[in-house]
């Protein structure tokens, strides 16, 4: 690992995005619009908005970063720049960490905007600190980056990469406790949800929703999400090959 190469990679990824202002606008504004939409969908039942709103603040960054990373990595593969980089003195870890860093920075802005809108404009009632919400959102973004990086290894085209979103993200969305508490699912599904990282992302958000301080459960959730993100990044790095057929 080389910090300078990692930072140069992160700066390059962000620089690429600055030439694509529409993508940045979509990434930053869509979560704000959706959370606003949700607020007025549950206009008559603010308690439901509190419960699902907090969870969604964690899910948005995960989904966005998953999509952005899988497409960005796929582009790097298909444009030949990955092959070129791998003939140069850059480590896989430098490249992956560069990507993770760039997208985490973007996710921080995205999560800050969505959280601020939800808390101060839409009156989302959260017992705990907004900083803890942001922390979970950031880790979720990292998890999304890691998952996106990993699945992009199995996608040969943009079409396939986009299809991995319903394949990888939707089941987690259904089982994470957003629609119904996990302990009320069929025991088999509950067991499955116990091993899916998004469940812990949502659990973590719910802990912040209900408790003033960072509880032991919150710490466990955060550590699990962070661990899964790191594992995903490591697996993603392992799927990058200097020599290809």
């Amino acid at each position: 690992m080389n910090t300078a190469r990692t930072l140069a990679t992160a700066a390059r990824v962000l620089r690429q995005l600055t030439h694509d202002p529409r993508t940045i606008a979509l990434m930053l504004l869509v979560p704000v619009v959706l959370i606003t939409l949700l607020r007025f969908v549950f206009d008559g039942s603010p308690a439901v908005f509190d419960a699902t709103g907090a969870s969604l603040l964690g899910i948005f960054p995960l989904v966005t970063m998953f999509l952005v990373t899988s497409i960005a990595t796929l582009r790097e593969r298909t444009s030949g720049t990955l092959e070129r980089l791998f003939t140069m003195p850059i480590g896989k870890g430098d490249l992956i960490a560069g990507y993770a860093l760039a997208f985490a920075a973007l996710a921080a802005v995205q999560a800050a905007l969505a959280t601020a809108t939800a808390l101060w404009l839409l009156d989302l009632t959260v017992t705990g600190s907004p900083w803890l919400l942001l922390l979970v959102a950031l880790l979720d973004a990292l998890l999304g980056t890691a998952l996106g990086l990993f699945v992009s290894a199995f996608a040969a085209s943009e079409f396939q990469a986009v299809q991995f979103m319903p394949a990888v993200i939707f089941p987690q969305l259904l089982l994470c406790g957003l629609f119904t508490p996990r302990d009320r699912m069929h025991p088999a599904l509950e067991a499955v949800s116990d091993v899916l990282p998004m469940s812990y992302a949502v659990d973590g958000m719910n802990e912040v929703l209900r408790h003033t301080d960072a509880t032991a459960d919150f710490l466990r959730d955060v550590l699990i999400v962070a661990g899964c993100a790191l594992l995903g990044l490591a697996l993603g790095a392992a799927t990058l090959r200097r020599r290809t057929p």
């Binding site: 080389n2 300078a4 190469r5 140069a8 990679t9 700066a11 390059r12 620089r15 690429q16 030439h19 694509d20 444009s79 030949g80 720049t81 092959e83 070129r84 980089l85 791998f86 003939t87 140069m88 003195p89 850059i90 090959r241 200097r242 020599r243 290809t244 057929p245």
Partner: protein, 270 residues
Amino acid sequence: MMNKTRPAVPATGPAIQAKALTAVRGTRTVLRGLGFSVPPGRITGLLGPSGCGKSTLLRAIVGTQARTTGTLTVLGRPAGHPALRDRIGYVTQAPSVYDDLTVRQNLDYFAAVLHPGRAHRATRATAVDRALADVDLSDRADALAGNLSGGQRSRVSLAVALLGTPELLVLDEPTVGLDPVLRRDLWDLFHRLAADRGTTILVSSHVMDEAERCHRLLLMRDGRLLADDTPENLRRDHGAPTVEAAFLHLVDTANTQATAAAPAPVQEPR
């Protein structure tokens, strides 16, 4: 230049040496037991029809080709050795640059990969400016790579390969789709690089008239080497006016030998 201890290639030793080099892609054997050597500081042309295995051979040399067997030594080390990564410049057939970055931003990034850190900021700036001047793109430095013409994009790709002053430059069909003036300019650049910077250049092409501009030629067909010689010797040995005619003569001879060696078709007994 950076003050790194680099294992100097002996002036007499080959820059690239292959023995029984074989590569398999899928179920197809693309390279079939190649043996050759590339002299340092010279331009070696790798010529042959499309699909004969040129790109696979180049990828093996830069260390990105999986499933190769045999011996392949590049600048005194096995191909793909980590110590070679800042000594080789590689230009893929399709320009491999970021379309959503400007020309300069592309070069800045790859320069940062080669010479990372604040300490090398001046080195990088010099390298980027020189590479831009080498490929004659200084006036397009702030244009988005994606907005450039095909020929300009492939020159950006070449500029990236020139950044680290590589000892070996591996170019996969760098002149495809370029107009005659640009092609001549690029070949002039290759000759300057070999003469002034002592760069070893291995350049592939399927256009035979480019063969005349090389110091040495490797002629390939169906994953095998047909010839490894200078353009002059090839023309003389085959009594041909051009390298193209010599290549065709070689192919015809190889075909005749193959037909003669094959057993005559036997009638199936009924």
